[in-house]
Symmetry: C2
Subunit: 355 residues, 2 copies
């Protein structure tokens, strides 16, 4: 704290991202990174990029990437926004659309960055509890609101809601914006992008960090009615005209051009998730039904903190949240088959583990 | 405008960046890009980068880049902040440090993005006129204030203020933050980074876009007392944990490692600026004394709008601002010698041009 700080930031509690240790030999299952490399075309696009062009500013509109996303989704370019990772897209969304007079509705347990944005912008919010089995029940969001945001699948639970429930929600709240954060949607959930042409109050955000293995390049996007996208463009152009750099744009386009590779990686992650879930069940874990590249699991006899410390000692990083209600769960990213075998083998060594 | 927008953004007027036309054969002197490519080490760093690592998140602290900047400046890592271009660094600075109860002081004519941030965050501001010869007179900033920001050298005038004047200003306003935006400082002005260890209320921002030819990769930084840097880190971590991507960080580090190339490019730009200024003078232009990679020039017989249109017809892009007081000036980026010869030759062809 310092007398020089803006008063509004004195009480700010920033988001804490998962650790990015610069240590070799760790099995890193703590930040939901994809275990497989980006599409081979990404390496080619970067290798072929003329470095001399970096002296120029990027296209502030990222038009070529929007065109590639338009081909990919069937939407128009003016229904598409891109930014420096989906966190930036979300930060701009909160500013552009969710700072309203009525309270924002969001799940009590969800991506914890939402509450940071709420504090940053001084947004009034109402938190809706999950069901006892950790699901988002969208029927509970039918109350006066200045906007609704949730992750689908939800984080850190991994559970998704069906598209029909989202459709009903959109119809029940036509005067406010519903933001569906689909960071993990490619791993088995239904995308609400299919509803963008029908509902002017729907904004869907996605990321290239997880399913497209490009976390290191920071590419996020949003899909919605052109009026919602215009709001995001206005705020982006009032914040940073060129959020997406030339290499990130080139890599993103190359990734979108290889759907076969994309689908193959997804299938592999889902297959690994399947057997990992079964193996964890056999060890006495309750594992929530995941449509993501992670599982959220709690053990009958051991606390989340105990398990995380035990795994850490054995050079395996997982994520643990101290929030009441989920403090006994671990969020375990789906790595390669070898990494998940190492995880299961390590857990089997624990003296209190059944198998 | 839409009923879904946050009320606060309905009246926002975004910043308009210079055109980035996707047309071949234009001479582009409108966005102050460096005419020379990035250091050769940048191409090597990008070529040697293992693309597979892009599946991982970057280091949210960008520690290696901060270390390189620490070596470069003699400052400590906790006195250094990095972001996605200096526009993002400035956007976070306005949020973290300049949203105060008292008015922010800034020049009436300066980088026009400052006024966009002022609107975006609802900051109260007082604009101080330039002198009749377009200089910033820092003695006029000795009045109650909640912060001061100016560009040094100033944009779009190109004129710099001496370090002693900045020192006096810092001493006259010990309770508020003075932000010196040094986007162009490397082209001949004195950097206030030399004062960072002395004044806890000084924040200096810089960019890799101009003097380091990396506009395409979006890298900005700030230097100041660790308490000011902490404020920026808090806001950054409440907005986007990973603003700088892996390739941008690698390129920035490679650029910092080649000071000989850096100095050579700077010298070439300054030499070209010198003869271009003389040639423009001979054509009847008044050219302000520039310490940047552009010149700000007005012609005795022709308006800025006329000249811009004439050059545009001849495939030469320059920047023109319609703001009263500078509406007859053109901002002309310093390109290669060949580009500037083409500019001068083109101007000579104008029927109303003396030579």
């Amino acid at each position: 704290m310092s007398k020089y700080w803006s008063p509004s930031i004195q009480s700010l509690v920033p988001y804490t991202p998962g650790e990015q240790p610069q240590v070799e030999g760790l099995i890193k299952l703590n930040t939901n990174e994809n275990p497989y490399p980006p599409a081979p075309g990404v390496a080619r696009a970067l290798r072929d990029f003329e470095t001399d062009r970096l002296r120029l500013y990027p296209d502030p509109e990222s038009a070529q990437l929007k065109q590639a996303l338009a081909r990919n989704t069937g939407l128009e370019c003016d229904q598409i926004f891109v930014g420096n990772g989906s966190d930036e897209v979300l930060a701009l969304t909160f500013m552009a659309l969710l700072r309203q007079d009525k309270p924002l509705l969001l799940p009590e347990t969800t991506y914890s960055f939402y509450n940071v944005y709420i504090d940053l912008y001084g947004i009034q919010a109402r938190h809706v509890p999950l069901t006892d089995d950790f699901r988002i029940d969208l029927s509970q969001y039918r109350q006066p609101n200045g906007g609704i945001i949730f992750a689908n699948p939800n984080a850190p639970t991994g559970i998704s809601v069906p598209l029909d429930d989202i459709r009903s929600l959109l119809e029940s709240t036509p005067d406010s914006v519903v933001v569906v954060d689909e960071a993990y949607v490619d791993f088995g959930a239904e995308s609400a992008t299919a509803l963008v042409n029908e509902y002017p109050n729907l904004l869907v955000t996605q990321t290239f960090s997880k399913s497209r293995s490009l976390a290191g390049l920071r590419i996020g996007c949003a899909f919605g009615h052109k009026d919602l996208i215009e709001a995001l463009e206005r705020v982006k152009n009032s914040f940073n005209s060129y959020p997406l750099d030339m290499l990130a744009e080139a890599a993103a386009i190359a990734s979108l051009e290889d759907e076969a590779y994309f689908n193959d990686c997804i299938e592999r992650v889902i297959a690994t998730r399947q057997w990992t879930t079964e193996a964890l069940n056999r060890l006495g874990f309750e594992v929530l039904p995941s449509h993501t590249n992670f599982v959220f699991a709690a053990h009958a006899n051991l606390t989340g903190a105990e398990l995380m410390a035990y795994l850490r000692e054995n050079k395996i990083l997982v994520r643990h949240f101290t929030k009441p209600g989920i403090e006994n769960h671990l969020r375990i990213s789906i790595g390669t088959d070898a990494e998940m075998r190492a995880l299961i083998d390590c857990l089997k060594q624990h003296p209190q583990m059944a198998d």
